[in-house]
Symmetry: C4
Subunit: 197 residues, 4 copies
């Protein structure tokens, strides 16, 4: 089956998720810089979730470059990933409105963790289609980022019950790791070409 509609649908869902969060940004009460400062935590939380959705879109984009065909299992693995990402506006909003209380902050981390697990399962579904010597498996290599992230999310979830701000700090670090350019797929494509359109 053709992968272009899977990409188009995922692009649509991710575009909506990333934009819906801005609806959480309530207009400040009053017209002063102080009023704006009051929405700063919400703004920064929105920024963090924006970056996370951006990371997933980026990685999804790279991963699908190395896929040529998709089957029913891949479609559902993809919907599973989109499900956990579609909860991000909700978990972001709860964490923010609670003023970074332990449980909401932990739930935010659990959502990130489940999205990471779903992404891993999608990767597996694509690799199992290509075989373990396929282009995706080769390009991924040891995938230390994919292995480190869930550990950081677990650390963050645990830390949320101790000092929630430490948890948020861990989630920020986990995002920054992905912002550092990952040349694996690009290098692979440069050397071997894509196996797509």
């Amino acid at each position: 089956m053709n992968k272009s509609r899977l990409e188009a649908f995922s692009d649509g869902v991710l575009a909506i998720i990333i934009t819906i969060m801005v609806l959480e940004l309530r207009v400040p009460e009053g017209s002063s810089w102080e009023a704006l400062r009051d929405v700063a935590p919400t703004f920064l939380t929105y920024l963090l979730s924006f970056v996370y959705v951006g990371i997933y879109w980026n990685n999804h984009h790279h991963m699908l470059q190395l896929a040529s065909k998709v089957d029913g299992r891949v479609l559902w693995a993809n919907l599973h990933l989109l499900f956990w990402l579609s909860l991000l506006p909700f978990t972001t909003s709860w964490m923010d409105e609670s003023g970074f209380d332990p449980v909401p902050t932990a739930v935010y981390g659990i959502d990130l963790l489940l999205a990471a697990v779903a992404y891993f399962l999608l990767q597996r579904a694509l690799i199992s289609q290509q075989g373990s010597d396929g282009p995706l498996a080769s390009a991924l290599g040891r995938d230390w980022k994919g292995k480190l992230s869930p550990i950081l999310y677990l650390v963050g979830i645990a830390a949320a019950f101790w000092v929630p701000y430490v948890a948020v700090g861990v989630f920020v670090v986990a995002a920054l790791i992905w912002l550092v350019p990952d040349r694996r797929v690009e290098r692979f494509v440069a050397e071997h070409g894509t196996s797509g359109r």
Copy 2:
């Protein structure tokens, strides 16, 4: 006429429907696990509708693979399907907010039923274009899932007036039937190739 814009528009509408429902998830009042548990029914209802939209997207994707051209009748049959699906956030929300009262639960089932009818009409419109020996008719075969689903929805609608939770159980079962991979189209494509792009 080219089918790519029909696919793109449908992807857009389905992506928005699936994401709008998350807006129904109100942030829990309080920061405790109990507060989160209070939104659990809403969460599970959202999950059910998410899965239904996912099923429709999946089936739509498969069906359109076997179509090569679309005409005006197909465009309107498709919009008809999107109309009933676009009401899902509304019917989901009413069923959930009423605490699964009989009428809202039945209306949820009626929406599912009308979407199934619309899907069937879209299938007919595509088949009538290709002729009954076209690739779509051949791939569908006896289409027992397509025939069983409306019966289950009718059972669910009737059950809603008796014990609404039984109705919800029937709707869950009807969804699970579709989650089991359907290899008809994939097998057909593997054997005969698509008749598209």
Copy 3:
């Protein structure tokens, strides 16, 4: 310039407009059939606007089939059309919430009229690019639907100040005229082929 992004962007905006209107559908207060009946006018108004956006999407789809290239003038003529269509959720909502009072009903008609004018200007922009003997001008022919619609909208706007329900009836008729299949473009494509991708 390539027309595919213009199509994709228009599909996105139209998909969102058509789906946003469902957000206007408030969950009925109570769990009875009577409660549902209370939202019936809103439902029917939503259906009317859904059909109008569907008509525009359909016609837009057909028209762009006969365009090969787009220039800056076409891009802005298209955005102009999308602007008036993007106001439909607003004008629909006002007409519905006012209980079909004269001014809101007239404003709904004015929005339809301005969208029709914008569509006409987009058509002109595309034809002026191709020349008056181009495929679009030939396929359109006398375009009696395109000429009748604005007259009906004007009649509806005037009627709104007399009996608003007559105005709504006129808007329904103007929509039904477009629902009757229009074979011009399809016939032209069948005879001459598209001038696109």
Copy 4:
């Protein structure tokens, strides 16, 4: 890497931003022309932001025509641009609800300024990929509009603390400059062809 998903994702986000703003348009209280007149400032503010998003979509469309491949740096530069644009519904809404008070009006200008900076960085990222003798650098030439706009935004931001309506006037002028057709890319494409699909 292929640029088509970057275009599709950007189209999705811009389509949502442009349509979300219509949600800010509250239904007038009452059914009279006076009630409609009360929402006129909101309407005009919405129109201004609609035009700005339209301008960015237009320029984005043109710029990407001259790009053939995109890398990780381009993906993030693009997300950075989308981030500032996604704040437009928020800054538009604050400026409008405050009745054009100094700080909210200045913040609206700051958002426009940061979007312009992000657009410039995206341009740089694309040019650095092609080399300074690539098609984009050649087509841009001296880029006086790209250089004038940030200056106008700065003037507007300063004016907001003096007479906010002057600031709004400056933002309107900065938009009008872009509405005048820019033939650079079209001329370049006509002469040299695109370097894309």
